[in-house]
C-alpha cells in the first residue's frame, strides 16, 4: 500500500511543534528582558508579570472555548465590565455580602453568554454580529447604571482576591488564574464536552451526524465565555480597587490577539488553553520590557502589533511546512 513507507517514521505532532515555536518566542522575550534589566527574573518581577497576565488569561480561557467551538466572543470585554459594575454597585450601594455579589455578577455573565449562545446557535446569527451587537448594548447599559461615576474603595476581604498574596510572592490573582487554567484545560481535554467543542468547531455537520447536538454545545460554550468574562470583571475590580463603565474596552482586542497568538485557529476546532496562557505571558512580558526601556507609549502599540503578526506568522509557517511534508508522504 502507498502509505507503508511511513510506518516506521516517528515525528512530533504538528501541535507539539507549533507550541515549541510559541515557547521559543516566549523564551526570546524572557532573554531580552534579562538583557534589558538584570532584575527581570527576580521573584518580584515574575510575580507581578504573572498577576498582570492573569486577567488576560482568565478572559482568554472563555474566549478560547468560544473560538474553538464557533467563533470569537466580541462581547467579552463588555460582559467583564458589566459584571464588575454590578458586583461593585451591589457591594457599595446595597451592602450586599461580597460572596453573594460575586455570585450574582457571575450569574449575569452566564445569562449574557446564554443570550449570545441562543442568538448564534438557535436563531442562526453569525457569532461576530451577535456578540459585537451585544457588546455595544452592554457597554451602553453599564454606562447608564453607573451614570459616569467611578466606584472605588471596596471591602478589604473582597480586595484580597485581587491584590492579596500567599507566602509573600504568590499573588491571589495568580492563584485564581491557575485554578481557572486547570478548570479550562480539564474541561477541554478531559471531558466529553471538550471533545464536542472541537468536533463542532472543526466540522459542524460531521458532529451533528455523529449524534452531537451542535446547538447545545455552542450554547454551553458561550455561557462559559460569559461566565469567565464575569469572573474576570470581579478579578479586575478586586485588583484595581476601582470600577468605571469602560474597564473592559481595553481588553477585547488584546485578548483576541492573545488567543490567536496562542495557536487557536480562527476557523475553529483547533487550539487550547496552554497556547492562550503562553500568548498572554508573551503580551505581558513584552509590555514589561517596553516599560523597563521606557519606550514611549505611541511606539509601544506599534511594537506589540508587529509582535502579534510575527508570532502568528511563525505558527502558520511551521504548520504549513509540517502539513506539506506530511501530505507528500501519506
Amino acid at each position: 500500500m502507498s502509505g507503508s513507507r511511513l510506518k516506521n517514521r516517528k515525528r512530533l505532532s504538528t501541535s507539539a511543534v507549533s507550541s515549541v515555536s510559541r515557547l521559543a518566542v516566549l523564551l526570546i522575550i524572557i532573554i531580552m528582558g534579562c538583557i534589558i534589566d538584570s532584575s527581570f527574573l527576580s521573584m518580584r518581577n515574575i510575580s507581578n508579570n504573572l498577576a498582570n497576565a492573569s486577567i488576560l488569561i482568565v478572559l482568554g480561557i472563555g474566549q478560547t472555548i468560544a473560538i474553538i467551538t464557533n467563533g470569537p466572543d466580541l462581547s467579552s470585554g463588555s460582559v467583564m465590565t458589566i459584571c464588575g459594575v454590578i458586583a461593585a454597585i451591589l457591594m457599595k450601594s446595597y451592602d450586599v455580602n461580597f460572596v453573594l455579589a460575586i455570585l450574582l455578577a457571575v450569574l449575569v455573565g452566564c445569562f449574557l453568554g446564554a443570550l449570545n449562545g441562543y442568538m448564534i446557535a438557535y436563531v442562526g446569527l453569525p457569532s461576530f454580529i451577535s456578540t459585537y451587537g451585544l457588546q455595544w448594548a452592554v457597554f451602553g447599559f453599564a454606562y447608564v447604571i453607573l451614570k459616569g461615576y467611578v466606584l472605588y474603595d471596596f471591602d478589604p476581604t473582597f480586595r484580597f482576591i485581587g491584590n492579596g498574596s500567599l507566602f509573600g510572592f504568590l499573588q491571589m490573582t495568580t492563584v485564581v488564574m491557575v485554578v481557572f487554567v486547570i478548570f479550562g484545560t480539564l474541561l477541554l481535554k478531559k471531558t466529553n464536552f471538550g471533545r464536542q467543542c472541537y468536533a463542532v468547531g472543526s466540522n459542524r455537520e460531521a458532529a451533528n451526524m455523529s449524534g452531537i447536538d451542535p446547538q447545545k454545545v455552542i450554547m454551553k460554550a458561550f455561557i462559559l465565555s460569559g461566565m469567565l468574562s464575569g469572573v474576570t470583571g470581579i478579578l479586575y475590580v478586586a485588583r484595581m480597587n476601582t470600577v468605571q463603565s469602560d474597564i473592559g474596552s481595553a481588553y477585547l482586542l488584546p485578548v483576541l490577539a492573545t488567543v490567536y497568538m496562542g495557536g487557536t485557529s480562527a476557523s475553529g476546532g483547533e487550539g487550547g488553553i496552554w497556547g492562550t496562557v503562553v500568548g498572554a505571558l508573551v503580551m505581558t512580558m513584552v509590555t514589561n520590557c517596553l516599560n523597563l526601556l521606557a519606550v514611549p507609549s505611541e511606539w509601544r502599540d506599534a511594537i506589540i502589533g508587529v509582535l502579534i503578526i510575527v508570532t502568528v506568522l511563525l505558527d502558520i509557517t511551521v504548520k504549513k511546512r509540517m502539513a506539506k511534508r506530511k501530505r507528500v508522504t501519506v
Binding site: 502509505g3 505532532s13 472541537y198 466540522n203 458532529a207 451526524m209 506539506k324 507528500v328 501519506v330
Partner: protein, 507 residues
C-alpha cells in the same frame, strides 16, 4: 524532429522532501486516443498530471509537446501548449454564471475594458449546444447539478485551442446516464484529434472508453498496454502488484429477524413518498437508483437527521419517534456512514483517535470524563482490525489517503457498536485494494448478525455484495430484486424506466 505523439514524457522524476513521488516515468499520448492512467491512491497519477499541467516542475526527465521540448513549467505555458486539465474538485466560481465561468480568463471585451456579456452568452450557448448539452448559460454555476458542472468544465477547456485534455476521475460523482453522456463528449473530442488522458478507479469504464492504459504503482511506471489486449483481472493485478480474486466475496446465510422496518414514509421537504422497506439481521440490502432518486434522503430520514411527516421507522423492534435526533438513533444501534466523508464523515483537522470516538463519547465515557485507556483500547482495536495505515492514532485525519479516511469513518461507526449500519456510497473514490478490505469487513459484520443497507451507484458493487436489492426512482421504491436474479440492465431499466423505453423506441 517529426513525431506523431502529442505528448511525450521521458524519465520524469519528481522528488518531494523525503519521498520520490515520481520515479523515472515514461508516458506518451497520441492524437485522438483516450489514454487511461491507472494506479492506486498515492501511486503518483495526480503528481504526473500536475507536471503535465505545469503545476509542478520535474526534477529530472524531459517533456515534449508535439515534439518540442518544454522547459518552462507553469499553468499558463501549459495552457498555451493546448493542455487542459479538469481536476477532481471542480474550479468553478459558484456565484458566477455558466457563461462567465466558461470564459473566465478571456471574456470577450467591449470598449476596451468592459465585458461584452451578450456576445459571451451567445458564444457559450453555441458551445454548449455543439456539445449537445442542455444547460442554461445564464444559470449560476452553483445552481446546476454536479454532472452539468462537469460538462461546464469541459466547455471551459474547449474555449482554448485544446490539444490535450486531462480528466481526473470525472465520473466519481456521476450517475450511469450522465457517465454515458460524458463518454459521448469524450468521443466527439477524440474525433477532432484531441488526446484525452483519463484517470479513473472504475475498471468497467476502461473497456468502454479507453484505447491504451498506463499503470503506475508507488510512483513507478509499470507498463503501457492496449486496452483490447488486457483484462480487468490483469489490470487489477498490475495495479496492486498482487492478484485480487473475488472482489465481492460473500458468505451468504439465512437472514434472521427484522432489524429495520420502514413503513409508508413521507417527507415533504425531501419529497419522499410512501417508502417502505425492511432489513433483516445477517443481510446486506442494496439500495440502487440514479443520483437524485432519493436514496441519501431516505437514509437521512431513517437516521433522523432530516425530518419526515408521516410513516413509521422501527429499529430493532422499537418504533422511533419522529422527534428523535441522530443521537437517539445511535444509542439504539443505528449508524449512517455518509456519502461525503470530507464534509459529513470526518473532522479533517482532528486526530484520527478523536474522529473514531466522536460518535460514541457517552458510551465510552458515561460519566462525561474522558477515560483515556478505554478510548485508546477502542481506537487501537479498530485501527488494527480495519488496517488503517498511519504512523499513529494522533495523526490528523486530513493527512490520510481516501481509502484510509474511509476506514476511519468506518471505525467511528463500528465503535458505536451499531446493529444496523447504513453505508452511503462506501467505496466512492477509493482504490481497489481498500475496496476489497471494506467489502470483506462488511461481509464480516453481517456474519455476526448485524444488518447493512448499502446505497451505491456502482452496479457491480450492488449486485456483487447485496442479498436483496431495492431500486428507487423519483423518491419511491419501485422494485425489490433478489441479487441472484438481478442484472445491471434490469436495475438500470427500473431506475430510469421512462428513459429506457424512449431509447428502445428510438432504436
Amino acid at each position: 524532429m517529426e513525431t506523431n505523439y502529442l505528448i511525450e514524457m521521458q524519465h520524469i522524476t519528481k522528488i518531494f522532501p523525503g519521498v520520490k513521488a515520481l520515479d523515472d516515468i515514461n508516458f506518451t499520448l497520441k492524437p485522438g486516443e483516450v489514454h487511461v492512467l491507472l494506479g492506486e491512491n498515492g501511486a503518483g497519477k495526480s503528481t504526473l498530471m500536475k507536471v503535465l499541467a505545469g503545476a509542478y516542475t520535474p526534477d529530472a526527465g524531459t517533456l515534449l509537446a508535439e515534439g518540442r521540448e518544454i522547459t518552462r513549467f507553469d499553468p499558463i505555458t501549459a495552457k498555451k501548449n493546448g493542455i487542459g486539465i479538469i481536476y477532481q474538485e471542480f474550479n468553478l466560481v459558484p456565484y458566477l454564471s455558466v457563461a462567465e465561468n466558461i470564459y473566465i480568463d478571456h471574456m470577450p471585451p467591449k470598449m476596451g475594458v468592459l465585458v461584452d456579456r451578450k456576445q459571451m452568452h451567445q458564444q457559450a450557448d453555441k458551445l454548449l449546444h455543439d456539445m449537445k448539452m442542455n444547460v442554461d448559460a445564464h444559470a449560476l454555476a452553483s445552481e446546476i447539478p454536479v454532472a452539468q458542472q462537469q460538462m461546464v468544465e469541459v466547455a471551459k477547456a474547449l474555449t482554448h485551442d485544446l490539444k490535450v485534455l486531462i480528466m481526473d476521475e470525472p465520473t466519481a460523482s456521476l450517475s450511469e446516464v450522465e457517465i454515458q453522456q460524458l463518454f459521448e463528449i469524450v468521443r466527439s473530442l477524440t474525433k477532432q484529434g484531441i488526446g484525452v488522458i483519463y484517470i479513473s478507479h472504475r475498471l468497467q469504464e476502461i473497456s468502454q472508453i479507453g484505447d491504451r492504459i498506463t499503470i503506475m504503482r508507488d510512483g513507478k511506471y509499470i507498463c503501457t498496454k492496449d486496452v483490447k489486449d488486457t483484462s480487468p483481472e490483469e489490470i487489477v493485478k498490475l495495479m496492486v502488484g498482487r492478484e485480487i480474486v473475488d472482489l465481492y466475496h460473500r458468505n451468504r446465510q439465512k437472514p434472521g429477524e427484522v432489524a429495520l422496518k420502514v413503513e409508508h414514509l413521507y417527507s415533504e421537504k425531501e419529497r419522499l413518498s410512501d417508502v417502505g422497506m425492511e432489513l433483516r439481521r445477517g443481510e446486506i440490502v442494496g439500495l440502487a437508483g440514479l443520483v437524485g432518486a432519493g436514496r441519501t434522503e431516505l437514509a437521512r430520514a431513517i437516521f433522523h437527521v432530516d425530518p419526515y411527516e408521516k410513516g413509521d421507522v422501527t429499529l430493532l423492534g422499537k418504533l422511533a419517534d419522529k422527534k428523535q435526533s441522530p443521537r437517539d438513533m445511535i444509542e439504539r444501534g443505528l449508524s449512517l456512514i455518509p456519502e461525503d466523508r470530507k464534509r459529513q464523515g470526518l473532522s479533517l483537522i482532528l486526530p484520527i483517535a478523536q474522529n473514531i470516538v466522536m460518535a460514541s463519547l457517552s458510551k465510552i465515557n458515561p460519566r462525561g470524563w474522558i477515560r483515556a485507556a478505554a478510548e485508546k483500547k477502542c481506537v487501537d482495536q479498530y485501527i488494527k482490525e480495519l488496517n488503517v495505515i498511519t504512523p499513529s492514532s494522533e495523526q490528523l485525519a486530513g493527512n490520510l489517503s481516501g481509502g484510509n479516511q474511509q476506514k476511519v469513518v468506518l471505525a467511528k461507526w463500528l465503535c458505536t457498536k451499531a446493529e444496523v449500519i447504513i453505508f452511503d456510497e462506501p467505496t466512492r473514490g477509493i482504490d481497489v485494494g481498500a475496496k476489497k478490505e471494506i467489502y470483506a469487513f462488511m461481509d464480516e459484520l453481517v456474519k455476526t448478525g448485524k444488518a447493512i443497507l448499502m446505497i451505491s451507484s456502482e452496479l457491480p458493487e450492488i449486485i456483487g455484495m447485496s442479498d436483496r436489492i431495492y431500486v428507487m426512482r423519483d423518491r419511491k421504491i419501485v422494485k425489490e430484486l433478489q441479487s441472484n436474479e438481478a442484472t445491471q440492465e434490469m436495475i438500470i431499466s427500473y431506475a430510469m424506466e421512462g428513459a429506457i423505453e424512449e431509447e428502445r423506441q428510438d432504436g
